[in-house]
Symmetry: C2
Subunit: 224 residues, 2 copies
DNA sequence: GAACTTATGTGACCTCTCCCACACTCTTAT
DNA sequence: ATAAGAGTGTGGGAGAGGTCACATAAGTTC
């Protein structure tokens, strides 16, 4: 399968491009390039011009934002088949977050200029885009509420449930990263996980968390 | 001036519709209705279907979201001339937040069905919409970071500065509401305001906060 | 203006979480 | 094999901010 055809599949999997015809898809995916990243390598940083949209071919990209004192908040993990960078590429403004490779990664790159040209030729895509952006706003809105109003156990449980949806009952993440993810200290995360382990809700191994009792975990997440 | 012409002005003031021609604007504003709200009356609640976009003709609408335990987080105040509800009206999904009248208010209402019909006839508006949605995503992203990573004095200072931009140096808000606004207890807000009062940065009265030294306040907000 | 309601001011206490310190374990590099 | 470096487990102190309790003040209602 050619790179272009592979990118077309990724696009097709994304709701943003799901209703594109095969011919439209082919024309769009023909505009892409690819880029290699080593672990820890920076794809872009907050403030960089938003001149491209990315699709993950393989590897993992971390989207995160941080304060000057070094404390950071991980917004999302992007894995194989995920698309990101749509926001910046649409209005061309600066990136709102940083993106670094969590593993050796290969990305599809669709440059802003090429994408805008395509959009002008395909007005229907613009309409789908609007819906996608709305979804994102909703998602962010829920995230914000979650972070601000809820105590750590609830935030942690919700995050684990969300990760479970993407990766199954065995989540591959360090407690350090998980802490950054929910905006808490590593030690606090560990202590909470320990109490859950004693209750048989989770099991812990180096770099892995096994979720044994999703029922109880979702109960904590609901915070009734 | 007719109601429609008044609504047209509000639309024109909003970046979302700023580049519309006079004829387009007239056709769009002709689709609106009006609605009256008493103080405390609920316009919509989280979970209601998003079937309309609103413009404030007079009064004040509070956009807020809350947890089941009654703790609430005020997201925004909408005053005369402000537009809101764009997100829900675009994808028709449920409201992400509650909206209640903070004063006796009168609203312009543009129903989803009417708006979509207009959008289909005016593709250029859809493009502008995309940019507006991007801006909103950025704004939310900044809000989230602000809430999660910063200590209370910083959050409070930032909120007061933002309110000052809308309402001038005399902000009309109770400390209770302000606490909900920044996600803190009323008592904590009061204590912080007291220290600022001793420093001559603010002055306090029942239901009002006078901002005397915006320089120092913005310095706290920057958190250097 | 007297009773009542709402908003503000303040102290005491307590809990959560961060930060620091350090031990232990597993993996990788030399 | 040994060293170095991650990732993990735990204890303890400190501090921010929440909760509770109650006093005071400013509007409101009758």
């Amino acid at each position: 399968m050619s790179k272009q055809a592979e990118f077309a599949v990724i696009l097709k999997m994304n709701p943003m491009f799901a209703d594109l015809g095969a011919d439209e898809l082919q024309r769009l995916s023909g505009l892409c390039h690819t880029q290699q990243l080593a672990t820890g390598e920076v794809l872009f940083q907050k403030g960089d011009p938003g001149d491209a949209l990315f699709g993950v071919r393989r590897g993992q990209i971390r989207i995160e934002t941080g304060a000057s004192d070094g404390s950071r908040l991980t917004l999302n993990f992007m894995g194989s088949g995920d698309l990101f960078g749509e926001v910046a590429v649409l209005d061309g403004q600066d990136r709102t977050a940083d993106a670094t490779a969590g593993e050796p990664s290969e990305l599809f790159v669709l440059r802003r200029q090429d994408f805008l040209g395509f959009l002008e030729r395909e007005p229907k895509v613009a309409v789908r885009l609007i819906e996608l952006l709305c979804q994102r706003i909703r998602w962010q809105s829920e995230r914000m509420e979650e972070s601000v109003l809820q105590p750590l156990p609830v935030r942690l449980a919700r995050r684990l449930c969300a990760l479970a949806e993407d990766f199954g009952s065995e989540v591959h993440i360090s407690q350090e990263q998980l802490g950054i993810f929910v905006g808490a200290a590593r030690e606090s995360v560990n202590r909470q996980l320990q109490t859950w382990r004693k209750d048989g809700i989770v099991d812990l191994q180096r770099g892995r968390i096994m979720l044994h009792n999703m029922t109880k975990l979702t109960a904590v997440a609901r915070n009734d």
